[in-house]
């Protein structure tokens, strides 16, 4: 009981506001929200939206680290705001900004077109020569075959890794951590035959060779996907293809 009195009654949040019809530049606006030990940044944002300023815009959905929509910069670090406890940022103020390196649409909402475009380019689905008819049953896989790609399949497309990647900040063309990890997720799937189709994008001009192994993508990933690991793994594949194409130039690409 005694400790309850020591808790701050409120916490200050400095939140990015950007209303393109009113402002030409994003600015920070401060709000007060009640402090609760079990509240996360997203709870505070929802409190502000409900009780203080209904015009504040941000994306969220599941509140439990599954949907990947509430990613923002919290005190300069990419975080899922549903998993960023207020108690870890005391005494505040807590700076809440949209994911960096993405164009801002409004307030905390970023434009994710670039990521979706890149994601589609790496064909993140099971590529098959020919689909078997349903009557022939499912494509079976052993637990060992599943283990090979399972970690990379945990990605929730939250884009925290892009906001953490200094290379993506410097080279906006870079395919980027999540898209490469997801490409690897399908490359390593025993049911997939699309590795060759993904090769040109992955080891092309904006692919894996842009990465200098900073490793921040893996550090911020809320699902422990380890995109940096996926990229280094694919560099070995890319290098093997390069040596093959140099040593056996007459062979098929």
């Amino acid at each position: 009981m005694g400790s309850r009195e020591k808790l701050p009654p409120t916490v200050t949040l400095a939140v990015t506001r950007y209303r393109p019809e009113e402002e030409s530049e994003p600015t920070l606006q401060t709000y007060e929200a009640p402090y609760r030990k079990d509240w996360v940044v997203l709870d505070a944002l929802n409190y502000i939206k409900d009780k203080v300023d209904g015009s504040l815009s941000f994306r969220w959905s599941c509140r439990m680290g599954v949907c990947g929509s509430c990613g923002m910069m919290v005190n300069g670090e990419p975080k899922l705001t549903c998993a960023a406890f207020l108690s870890d940022y005391l005494p505040g103020p807590i700076r809440v900004e949209p994911l960096q390196f993405f164009p801002i649409v409004r307030d905390l909402v970023v434009d994710m077109t670039d990521f979706l475009h890149k994601l589609k380019k790496v064909k993140p689905w099971v590529v098959r020569e020919e689909e078997r008819p349903l009557s022939e049953g499912e494509y079976r896989q052993t637990p060992e075959q599943l283990d090979i790609y399972k970690q990379f399949s945990m990605c929730i497309n939250c884009m925290l890794c892009y906001a953490a990647c200094p290379i993506y900040g410097l080279e906006p063309g870079f395919v980027g951590p999540a898209a490469i990890a997801l490409a690897q997720r399908y490359n390593l799937d025993s049911r997939d035959i699309g590795a060759q189709e993904r090769l040109d994008i992955l080891s092309g001009k904006d692919g894996i060779w842009e990465c200098t192994f900073v490793g921040e993508c893996t550090k911020v990933c809320p699902k422990n996907v380890d995109p940096a690991g996926a990229i280094q793994q694919y560099k070995l594949t890319g290098a093997a293809h390069w040596f093959k194409s140099v040593l056996l130039p007459w062979g098929r690409k």
Binding site: P166, S203, K235, L236, H241
Partner: protein
């Protein structure tokens, strides 16, 4: 294919990093701590010379010295590019970095070749 010579340079970088991470600690421990502090009996000059005269030892030393130099060159090149934002000097930086590694490699080869 694509990526220019990057895949090749990355292979040197990667091999050099692996060697440095796995073997440098062993050498540092032996010749930096264990021998000078007397934890292990230091080999005599003659026995070391004998060891280095063996072609396999020389080959080992060649890779142990040369590949980590290329590891450094690759890492330092990107540190200059991205860290200091000197991408406009790309050719000069690449020539300087890999050039240094190449010079180090030639000196290493020359020295090892001329072991008496």
């Amino acid at each position: 294919m694509t990526g220019g010579k990057t895949p090749f340079l990355w292979t040197l970088f990667s091999a050099g990093g692996t060697l440095a991470a796995l073997l440098f600690p062993v050498h540092l421990f032996l010749s930096g701590l264990a021998f000078p502090l007397g934890w292990l009996e230091a080999p005599s000059h003659d026995s070391l010379l004998n060891l280095v005269q063996h072609p396999l030892t020389r080959l080992y030393l060649f890779f142990l010295i040369s590949l980590p130099l290329f590891h450094w060159a690759h890492r330092f090149r990107y540190t200059l590019y991205d860290g200091l934002k000197l991408k406009h000097l790309t050719t000069l930086i690449a020539v300087l970095c890999y050039g240094c590694a190449l010079i180090g490699t030639v000196v290493t080869a020359y020295t090892l070749w001329n072991v008496p």
